[in-house]
Point group: C2
Chain length 296, copies 2
């Protein structure tokens, strides 16, 4: 791939920091500048060698930048784009790592309307229970998928740069329409997070919560692992994608109404069929899933 | 503990087989006899050295037996007890490994009413995604919990024998009332299983199931691991404990109705609070949970 002279990472946590480390390891970036809302986190990123410099304003951050990755919670994308817009040179490519795409794209149309040819939204399907720059590592994206949702306006060279950057991190890039992206991830990621948060919240509020948790075992541990995720990030995702998420939640509530009716009727035969179909589908999927480190 | 001269295991799969292996490893059992509905599985258990002999009828199985473990799906406990009752000597202690306790106890009152002093129901909180005797191992119960629910009629020596057998396998034994057991496990085990089975069943039936699964990542993998569980076993558990399970399901549906209202209103503040409370409770629990092999 073409060398990236200057990379700007906005939000140097697990996601942004691992992108920086991955590109550095691949030897395709010369200088990495970090910018964000928490000065101490940026300083830590510099200490760790994840970034070379901390920028305190967008004018200096964007000066001579080839590529900008926005790796902040999606609820902040609009105000970030508004702040960077006046300083964005025509040749600078802007991408993001947001877990939702329609809202990020809407923000780009609103705030970066004169620069759309160089905006290439994307979503790396990787993450971990941990967060923050101390958790970042250059191999996070190895063998992971990155869903890229280019705009009709996106320039082919800009798309190629973003693709090759993620590929340099070891990821496989697939393209999708933003609507499809948001619907698919509402089903396989956003809804499960909501369900896990909901279950733990429900149990934690009970008078006998301590007794309940003391008997929970590893099935519960795995089922609720995603309830340990970052509340602000997930608030933003749920709000940004609430249309699709409500659709998925309602479909799931219909499924639970069916399961409830089988339980009420004591219909063991149909319950077993349902469980069996789920097991077959789940095991067929899991057998193809890479057994390496965690990803979301 | 007192030596067990003859142990009978009914249902020599992961649970029953691991109990046999654990006791054998501890050197506290002389002879182990297996009985069950699948001759080939029993033969396999004998080949693997998990049991010493296969019994084809209850009369010979129970002849001189000190302890019997019933490790079959809970839906079969009634008919198993009915079949064994005529051959059960007064001194033989009967325990089980059922995941529900009220129904097993009801079956004991019905079929073993003249032997209740030697009936000591229990539930080992351990298991794995795998099943069958090939998956059995003597360390399955090490550092795991076993919930024992003795009857008012249970003889102190019988209770002590069952307790010491599980302790010889490395488990910690706690006592609980059967009703409390069934309510607690409806909340922290049976409901999560139902929710995971339901989600996978819902997605697997969609026209775009393949697309959906192809984008599912490790959050989904962990959330749905328990949807790979044994359908017959879980059918029996859900039917046996449906009263408590329906209560838990309805409480969870109320939680989802609240979450749905927050989504509809776009109430990011309260969503974030809910997520944060869940994360704090989940991480506090998980930090105390033993990080060893899987358990259910």
């Amino acid at each position: 791939m073409a060398q990236i002279g200057k990379l700007v990472v906005c939000g140097v946590g697990l996601i942004g920091g691992s992108f920086a480390l991955g590109l550095r390891k691949a030897g395709v970036v010369e200088r990495i500048v970090g910018i964000g809302r928490t000065a101490s986190a940026l300083e830590r990123a510099r200490e760790l060698g994840v970034i070379d410099e901390v920028a305190t304003d967008w004018a200096s951050a964007l000066d001579g930048a080839d590529l900008v990755l926005l790796a902040a919670p999606v609820g902040q994308m609009g105000s970030i784009m508004a702040a960077m817009a006046p300083h964005l040179a025509p040749g600078t490519v802007v991408t993001d790592a947001g877990s939702t795409k329609r809202d990020v794209i809407e923000a780009a149309y609103h705030h970066l309307d004169s620069r759309l040819s160089h905006v290439v939204p994307a979503h790396p399907i990787a993450g971990a229970e941990t967060s923050g720059v101390d958790a970042a590592f250059g191999e996070l994206y190895r063998d992971r998928k990155v869903v890229m949702t280019p705009l009709p306006e996106s320039d082919a060279d800009a798309v190629a740069l973003v693709r090759s950057a993620w590929e340099a991190c070891g990821a496989t890039v697939v393209e999708m329409a933003p609507n499809d992206h948001d619907r698919v991830f509402a089903a396989v990621s956003h809804l499960p997070h909501l369900l896990a948060f909901g279950l733990v919240h429900d149990l934690a509020g009970r008078a006998n919560a301590e007794l309940l948790f003391s008997h929970a075992a590893s099935g519960f541990r795995d089922f609720t692992r995603i309830a340990g995720s970052h509340p602000e990030m997930w608030r933003d995702i749920c709000i940004a994608n609430r249309q699709a998420l409500l659709g998925e939640l309602d479909q799931y509530l219909a499924e639970l109404a069916y399961v409830r009716a089988l339980l009420m009727a004591g219909d063991g035969k149909r319950l077993e069929e349902l469980f069996d179909e789920a097991r077959v589908a789940r095991n067929a999927w899991a057998s193809q899933f890479p057994p390496t480190s965690s990803a979301e």
